[in-house]
Amino acid sequence: MELRRIHDYLWEIPKSGAMRVPGRIYASAAMIEQLRDDPALQQVANVATLPGIVGYSLAMPDIHWGYGFPIGGVAGIDAEHGVISPGGVGYDINCGVRLVRTNLRYDEIAPHVERLADALFAAVPAGVGSEGAIPSLSLDEMKGILRDGMNWAARAGYARATDLDHTEENGCLKMADPDAVSENAYRRGRKQLGTLGSGNHFLEAGRVDQVYHPDAARALGLEPGQVTLIIHSGSRGLGHQTCDDYLKIIGRRMEAYGIHLPDRQLAAVPISSDEGQAYLGAMAAAANFAWCNRQLIMRLAERAFLETLRISERDLGFSLVYDVCHNIAKFEEHTVDGRTMRLCVHRKGATRAFGPGHPSLPAAVRALGQPVLIPGDMGRYSFVLIGSEKAMRESLGSTCHGAGRVMSRAQAKKSARGRDLIRELAEAGVTIRYQGRGTVAEEMPSAYKDVADVVGVMEAAGISYRVARLKPFLVVKG
């Protein structure tokens, strides 16, 4: 595939064939060399064929092969005349990350890490056969969660007002339509509120080990040595079922709208169509469920900290820094080719990174830009970033979302044979608890790119800036 260098960290796939816009990929020269034969680049070109796409079909440096869209893909689609594609959101609707800060210092809790790991593992249910924090939700309660998101959590006593302020969209997409969610999706989600899930989802207790931007770190309440908790989870079975349901519905209706796309997983219909509106309502409902899920996990984790350390809530100081989603479609205003447009921005494995002054940002950080949370692999580090003005001009206010895999799960398992990964992690200072056999091998650090390279590209391109680095010392995997 032809690739043109725009600058050291940005590459272009020229418009050809059915592409409506060019593709653009943020990557270093070394990364782009590794990507040349990767099917993910063809997926960037495929996304460029979606009706209504404007600007560029974008990809972040953690790009890898996904379904329809690449993971790391971003597309801005004209809200009036364009399409919505469930493949541009992904199966795990509103998969996302939240960062919690505490008043604790790592030195204080180091002797208690093993007990804390046991407590977190016991407190936060993970996989199949486990029940959530509220196992007996009625259909009416479920509908309330899907309609109101974090507002439901606040009413039910699981969230404080500051939690809503520090969550994208205040934890509620108002276009949610709980009636657009299938019975199967409800059945899958009904016992999963407050559960972590498997795959790459995790809890990660870490300490702030480097600060790059002292003003922003101060505004976010982060300082060196401080203990933090990252929660990575999404909408669980409810979101997966919703995506699957609408891939089928939308796939069958494309022909009727005269839409022909190169990949079935890209299935799309006009935003204004009945099917498009139904998907958006269901997607928003699943997103609201995901926010409540992360909120409940946060409360469960807080209880585990309190009971293990036997300290007061005040001394623990468990408070939400920010919550971001990285699998979502949202309506936003952006300026494209000098024109302000209302776009349906699909971010699949990409994070919103609004620049300074954006009205949707919490007052404490509005002047600096949006906090962005980028988890790495479980052995190295994760990053806190802030969005930039340039992101608003160039990347639809978007940046990367994680490290990005370099090994398939099968390759990782093969590479782990004969190794004691638990001991290797322990030697790196990381205590781990896990549910599924094989998860540790599949998720081992070397299965991922070094996330420092990924965030480094976005910083060099001027899209997002590092605020702090977090070093894990305790990981819980589903």
Partner: protein, 146 residues
Amino acid sequence: MPDNSERGDGELFREFEHTGDIGIELDAPSRIELFARALVAIGRLMVEPDGIRLLEERRIELAAASDADLMHDLLSAALNLFLADGFIWRDASVAEKDGGLAATLSGEPFDRRRHSLIQELKAVTYHRLSVEKSNNGWRARIVFDV
């Protein structure tokens, strides 16, 4: 109750590489047996089969526009039996019915204290999904989201 437990993983399916997820390829002498083997395979990808007793049956009946759609819908329905209803199976049989398929899964309720969970599959994708005739029978390729 049918017992096809002689279908060892090695002969039942082969895993192929996909960056973030799991892909399998499997063969069967007939189209119907291909669907039955795929049902057994998805169960084996999730839970160790040895501890699963053949105590109960669940039935799935459906029709679709193509064999690939049929495979997607059949495996998705089976996945839902596990993820929503907590039923896990060790064996499956499939028959043609009314232009579609009728499948019977044999197993028992999943019990995390007794059964060994290997991994949770979250969805059956359309990604490069294929069901087609091969030289020696029928072949399917399926990618699962994990």
